[in-house]
């Protein structure tokens, strides 16, 4: 049984460890800053965690409503989502996504957006399964 709740600063160690395990990069300072900005921050910012009945972190999601980002009307943006591989295919990611989009809708937005590495087929498939399709923007990039 998975329960969802808003993230708290005390979740930093577990969030940072899960992300480091999945991405191969330890980014404690980044997650500390994210929690400082999102956990208990302004109402348009959301950072949710999913935990098992034993209180073990199963996953997390972070996002916020941004207005006129890249010239676009207000929309909910998903900035991060991770689920413990041992707890995947049990609806944890979908529950986190649903909870975040419910909060976005409550704030009056009707679109949700994200950016995904096009070679990351796993996360691309996840967002597709949530009903997301290619958005109106193309991300551009250049080596400097």
């Amino acid at each position: 049984m998975i329960a969802l709740r808003p993230a708290e600063p005390v979740d930093l160690t577990a969030i940072s460890a899960l992300d480091a395990r999945l991405t191969g990069h330890s980014k404690t300072a980044y997650w500390q800053a994210m929690l400082a900005r999102y956990a208990g921050g302004p109402p348009e910012r959301h950072f949710l965690v999913a935990e098992t009945a034993k209180g073990v972190l199963a996953g997390f999601i972070a996002g916020e409503v941004r207005a006129w980002e890249f010239g676009q009307p207000p929309a909910g943006w998903v900035f991060a989502i991770q689920v413990d591989p041992k707890l995947r295919l049990k609806g944890t990611g979908s529950a986190l996504f649903e909870a975040l989009t419910t909060r976005f809708k409550a704030q009056g937005v009707s679109r949700v957006r994200t950016l995904v590495d096009r070679k990351d087929h796993l996360i691309l498939s996840f967002f597709r399964a949530q009903g997301m399709t290619a958005g109106p923007s193309l991300q551009l990039d250049k080596a400097l």
């Binding site: 096009r118 070679k119 087929h121 691309l124 498939s125 967002f127 597709r128 399964a129 009903g131 290619a134």
Partner: protein, 139 residues
């Protein structure tokens, strides 16, 4: 994006059979459903069977049945059976030139985006977003 006829037929056949993995449909049933030639579809079904996505059942109620995993098989898995992989295309004349090389990098970019899209959509995802033709027509 233009797919070869065999690719389109492969997608149609797999998706139709995966809609209900318990059902068995003959190549004639499938051909009639999509308005294509049975001969052409039979060849496509043999390729799908060799890839383990469908199985031919013999007998009076014989035909083809889906044998893959709807949540694991992606559109790209089927497309890749019929189309050359982006990195495996034969060199075209002119690609060695500076203009040819620049054009090739644009076409590769398009291929990579198309591949990422096709690889991200499982049969389950596509079927859950599709609607019966009658519902589309009446909506």
């Amino acid at each position: 994006m233009k797919l070869q006829t065999a690719t389109r037929l492969g997608l149609y056949a797999v998706l139709e059979l995966a809609r209900d993995p318990a059902q068995t449909l003959s190549s004639a049933d499938l051909a009639e459903r999509f308005g294509v030639s049975t001969h052409h579809l039979a060849k496509v079904l043999r390729t799908l069977a060799a890839a383990g996505l469908v199985r031919a059942e013999r007998g009076a109620a014989g035909g083809y049945r889906f044998t893959g995993n709807r949540r694991r098989v992606t559109l790209m898995d089927i497309v890749a059976l019929f189309e050359p992989a982006p990195g495996r295309r034969a060199k075209e004349p002119g690609e060695e030139t500076d203009i040819g090389g620049a054009l090739l990098s644009v076409l590769t970019e398009i291929d990579e985006i198309a591949e990422a899209t096709l690889r991200s959509i499982s049969l389950e995802t596509l079927l859950s977003s599709s609607h019966p033709a009658s519902a589309v027509a009446s909506s």
